[in-house]
Symmetry: D2
Subunit: 217 residues, 4 copies
């Protein structure tokens, strides 16, 4: 399976609106030049325009466990799918959900044919999330987020533990990822790839940062 690079745009100025389209275009180019699969994850508001400008997969950052109905201000799976999204993060550390909501969101996403990545914070919650049968779980130990220290090197046991706990579900890891060697270490620990944000979006040269990430792929 190809190495997966999931690039979370968050709400950074460098990856909002026209900048989101620009960054997605760079990711598309680097993906084409490398053996990696690049997935871009813009804000809900930017999903439509990004998905209409690049051919690499576009995922949403969050989705609610709702159906068509009276849900003002919520994010609907069917709206994301129609706008061009192919998948979604669920339960990101900056947008945690209740257990029953994660389950409902995962099921709602499946109904709309969206690939699901449930984010988790440790081995125990990874096992719980995996038992809901998403396509992926993405473990991000909170103490390493934004630390500059890559989880795949700082805490290989937690990544290995997550891979074991997530029986039958593919695993990504995140927190502190910014270099090709971090990605390499993540793959060697049994994951399918990484989830990252500021290491690329806030880099002086995002294209160089992305090329660096996939240098060992």
């Amino acid at each position: 399976m190809k190495t997966l690079i999931v690039l979370n745009f968050k709400t950074y100025a460098e990856s909002t609106g026209a900048n989101a389209v620009r960054l997605a275009t760079i990711a598309e180019k680097v993906a084409a030049d490398s053996g990696a699969t690049m997935i871009v994850v813009p804000q809900a508001v930017d999903v439509f325009q990004v998905a209409h400008r690049v051919s690499i997969p576009v995922y949403a950052q969050h989705m609610d466990g709702i159906q068509f109905g009276g849900n003002t201000g919520h994010i609907l799976a069917e709206a994301l799918a129609e706008a061009g999204a192919q998948g979604t993060l669920i339960n990101h550390s900056e947008r945690r959900l209740q257990l029953a909501e994660i389950d409902a969101a995962n099921q709602a996403a499946k109904r709309a044919n969206l690939t699901t990545i449930i984010c988790t914070n440790n081995i125990t919650t990874t096992k719980a999330a995996a038992s809901l049968r998403p396509d992926f779980v993405a473990i991000e130990p909170p103490e390493l987020i934004g630390s500059g220290t890559p989880v795949s090197k700082a805490n290989p046991e937690v990544v290995k533990g997550a891979v074991e706990a997530a029986t039958g579900v593919q695993v990504l890891c995140g927190a502190g990822i910014s270099k090709g060697e971090d990605v390499k270490a993540a793959i060697e620990l049994g994951t399918n790839g990484v989830l990252l944000a500021s290491g690329v979006t806030k880099a002086a040269d995002p294209e160089a940062a992305l090329r660096g990430l996939v240098e060992f792929v």
Copy 2:
């Protein structure tokens, strides 16, 4: 001042994606034929395409009180503005916020030149919301939402009370609104217009429903 009809698309099938564009186009036509100002309020995911297809104002259903940064899954004022939104609901009854978040969202919206409508549930919270200086407050008594009984006729005192409590801030009212006479009653009570959803989005003939709404304007 022109009568304001704020049409909340919620996450109904009839007002999602291509249907959102279609409904916004109908609203644009009815607005042009009448003396009313029509504002359409699609889901965050649909704001971009709706705003690029109609020339009437497009508002968001919800916005977070955040700035550029690490806010995965949140709705950023600057992203909405760049996508073409001209305003936003804040604190809708289906997406309530903490008091400090309402204040932060209202301020963030102003920074991005978005018009703000803070939703409230009674006279007391209307006064509190008005003291945050949004452009509008919209009072919707929860017991009348989806009741089919228009607030402007069922409970004129609460609407009048809201108009008095919101010193210096314009008032809309909602809940149970579906006919022209409901709008007329709302205006006579001192409001600038109405906030409604299912009365139009779920109507057998949305265009006829919209034309009916503005018949006395």
Copy 3:
């Protein structure tokens, strides 16, 4: 193992303050006269006085996944334990938690030697909750809560499915339970007992209701 009757006092007038002590005393008497284990679950405010007046186990209705520190307005495991609680509900349908909070609350409870019951809404979330290794999971299908229709008779498959999904973790079931035959059906489906509230607290004669519950034990 003895049949478990977990009696949630919620915030009913009939089970608040002095009434909570009175109802707990009745439960203590019925427990002594029957082969069942009765656990009473008063509000946090009432835990201290109830635990000092009866010798049957007292559980809390909710607990936060926190440690000693700056957590104004939260419920601390160590405070519950010192007040006399022996266990706690976590993630009740009226007080849902985020997945990471459920995990943290379960671990915090263990540190304070509190028995944990994680509440769930379907088979999938039961499996997820069980993977966090609480002492019990309690499944309560939301559509049957307060319906008067006992889950153990209306939907035996969901109870059986929960028992299978919760490998190694004991299961309770709730929703619509009010009679001895409902408890009997629950035990026959493989659970260790039931979680109930209004069937007893709102009964004209709570003692008779409790005696009825354990008639087949």
Copy 4:
């Protein structure tokens, strides 16, 4: 009016359970020896035992805007009042509430004859909170909480602004308060007193810290 010292016990080890009773007893003694009114604010679980051991006012740290009913895991005004509480904080920075919840909690507290202190973060939200007519608002600028820098000295304008904004409602201030001169400055700015926590609960000698606080009263 007497200077008000509101002492939030949070969930510190030094102010939980038996330690909460001990600290409340110290506060009672210092109050008797000084001209100040001391209010102690233990966790919900500790309200009953603290209120039965001291004669100074005991307030809760949080209360929900609910009535008797099915509200598992929530804090009920009537339960607090029956346990001996005389008042409650609402919307503390560590337990923020939605605007409609603050209003409902304030009203529920009044029904149970509890004095209310709504916490706020800036001048704007102070004005909004005051318009709900609580007994007090307590302004705590988040950037100064736990900073060691007293709000009454670091940012006198925000305190003065809060006093002006809260027309007809008494004002407390908090954040960084630990000394008598901080209290003196707060009173001189027009407040009725202070809200504090770690300055006393975490002090090597809490009694000395409390005596220091009231030295200029």
